[in-house]
């Protein structure tokens, strides 16, 4: 569905490229990518109907094709993505993560096409990161994103980097389908999505961001105007099923992020002020990361993290991090296989619920990486958004093959 719109941009982009294509300069080409097999083993029986399975296998592939010419001043990258899921038809999906032409000038850069942009500094929540829609069917951590069509002009000045974004077209969030686990009690029917904007998902958004560093401090601030990436989920029907229907409002948002890098300390803070038709609020995520280097005279480093997330709307917030403390630890062995362990707990101070995550990963040979993840949810209070995942604690084994 959303791919159709992507195609229009592709055609447009193809034209740009055809017009600016080099006539004499040599074009260099490179391709690489990864394929992943993932197995999820759920520790409990399903909470809702249509989820009657305790293990799920899934495959994904993400190749990158990259061309550059004009002494690296111009480049084109194409990164499609495909996932096939054993049970969830909504999780079986394709996307164009990247199809972008990059042109570099003296102190500016023009990036046009479908791209991904990351903003922010904190680890447990990416509050200020708003350009790309979450590919939420991929994972629950909000780190997987859908490609966003954009024209991005970036200037590098003495006083910082300024990015101007024109974002033609909006990507709707993906949600697990009826057969998916790790979902809300009522599944989300994306086909019925509603928009505040008259031109719906064709609305053109705009953003401007400044970021700079002064000594040990990295700072960023932005203004975003356009479609809110976080939908309001309203109750509706699909045939005889009760469903959730996403409603996408328009919003104005100011965001700030800062990091102080002082010796072994990283102090981090993010804040947003968001205004829509129905609400106006502040939210923040802030904390620190401290690293113990060469623990016990070994090569291993241990990082400890503490963050707090707050949302002015309190329990009315449709956000997970409305009054939550997160604690984490990252153990890096710094060995040839890049062995790493991560553990994190997010505790909700309003509802008393917790989610606990452990991750272990290492490289095998030069082309494989394996990881073992465990996610455990404990939520008693039915009003807590996390409670719908109460039976979805699972262990995930994945193998990534790079090519």
């Amino acid at each position: 569905m959303s791919l159709h719109r992507g195609n229009q941009y592709l055609t447009g982009l193809g034209l740009i490229l055809a017009l600016t294509a080099p006539t004499c300069a040599a074009v260099e080409f490179e391709s690489y990518g990864k394929a992943t097999t993932e197995l999820r083993l759920f520790t409990e029986g399903a909470q809702f109907t249509d989820q009657s399975y305790n293990s799920n296998t899934s495959l994904s592939v993400e190749p990158t094709l990259f061309w550059h010419w004009n002494d690296n001043q111009d480049s084109l990258s194409f990164k499609p993505f495909l996932r096939i899921d054993q049970h969830d038809d909504e999780r079986t999906h394709a996307d164009i993560r990247e199809f972008s032409w990059n042109h570099q000038g003296e102190d500016w850069e023009l990036r046009s096409g479908i791209r991904k942009v990351f903003w922010g500094v904190t680890e447990f929540q990416h509050l200020v990161d708003v350009i790309n829609q979450s590919d939420a069917v991929e994972d629950i951590d909000g780190e997987d994103k859908l490609g966003q069509p954009m024209i991005n002009l970036s200037f590098v000045k003495e006083w910082g980097i300024v990015d101007l974004y024109l974002l033609p077209g909006f990507r709707e969030r993906t949600f697990p389908g009826k057969q998916g686990r790790l979902r809300t009690e009522l599944y989300v029917d994306q086909d019925q999505a509603l928009f505040e904007a008259g031109n719906e998902a064709l609305h053109t958004d705009f953003a401007v961001r400044w970021n700079h560093f002064v000594g040990d401090f990295d700072l960023g601030a932005y203004w975003f105007r356009g479609t809110n990436r976080d939908p309001i989920l309203q109750i509706g029907t699909n045939g005889s099923d009760m469903v959730l229907v996403p409603y996408y409002e328009q919003m104005n948002q100011f965001g700030f992020d800062a990091q102080a890098t002082l010796d072994s300390w990283l102090w981090k803070a993010e804040a947003i002020w968001r205004e829509t038709d129905t609400q106006r609020y502040w939210a923040t995520q802030a904390g620190f990361e401290y690293t113990f280097y060469a623990i016990h005279d070994s090569n291993a480093d241990l990082g400890v993290l503490l963050e707090y997330g707050w949302d002015q709307r309190g329990k009315d917030a449709n956000a997970i991090f409305q009054n939550d403390v997160s604690i984490g630890a990252r153990l890096t062995l710094n060995d040839a296989a890049s062995t790493e362990f991560l553990a994190g707990i997010i505790h909700d101070l309003d509802y008393g619920s917790s989610s606990f995550q452990v991750e272990a990963s290492r490289r095998i040979g030069n082309k494989w990486k394996v990881s073992l993840d465990g996610r455990f949810f404990s939520a008693e209070d039915a009003r807590d958004p996390l409670s719908t995942l109460g039976n979805d604690s699972h262990i995930q084994i994945s193998a990534e093959r790079y090519f």
Binding site: E30, N72, S264, Y293, D297, N334, D335, E400
Partner: protein, 265 residues
Amino acid sequence: MNLQAKTINWLLPAILLASASFSYAETAEEKGLAIAKQTKQSDIGWTDMTAQMQMVLRNSEGQESIRDIRMQSLEKKDDGDKSLSIFDRPLDVKGTAFLSFSHPGEADDQWLYLPALKRVKRIASRNKSGPFMGSEFAYEDLTSFEIEKYTYKYLRDESCGTEQCYVVEQYPVDEYSGYTRRVVWIDQSENRLHKIDFYDRKNSLLKTLTYAAYQQYLGKHWRPDMMKMDNHLTKKNTDLIWTDYQFNTGLSDADFNRNSLKRAH
């Protein structure tokens, strides 16, 4: 006028005499520092450089693992150098890039670009002694040589291969260094490093770095094609093989910022 000229005439021999006697009484510390300054001085003017770096990591059973890195660096006259490293292998870190602005005598500014997330992350430069990419090279072994980073003591002259070398002891100033001292062999003809012995925090010999196959660029700058690090404790070793050195390629500050990190491919 006349008086001034006379004074100068009188002063000049005095100064010459003083400096002569000074060099005669030069301490081992002063001589060590002088050699370091001479080494740094002799390489000034390389402007900018690009090169390919391959690391071959070998464990005690001889199993190999490869890292390919593209390097760019920019010489800065009144500050430390700037550098950008782009990782090509292992494949799971392909496209990862590292930007560093070094500052002699204070903490470096460092950023890491993670291509999967498209995230630029400011990182702590405090981690000097940790292994670079799981190799036998520590981060501090790969950063540019700055005079302020050590205090010095000249030990002796010694032959090194066909050359005659100064042997100098260097004591890291940084409290976070993994070493108590390094013993460095520098040849007297061209100020090239031949060997470094690294002594760990307990002052026992930990690693030896040997340089080989030097080539001269722009008629002035000597660079080794091969650097070999042996860890005496773990019996692991890492070869660092340099190819495609290019100088004066026209790089500028514009090629070393957080936007250039994101361009890494």
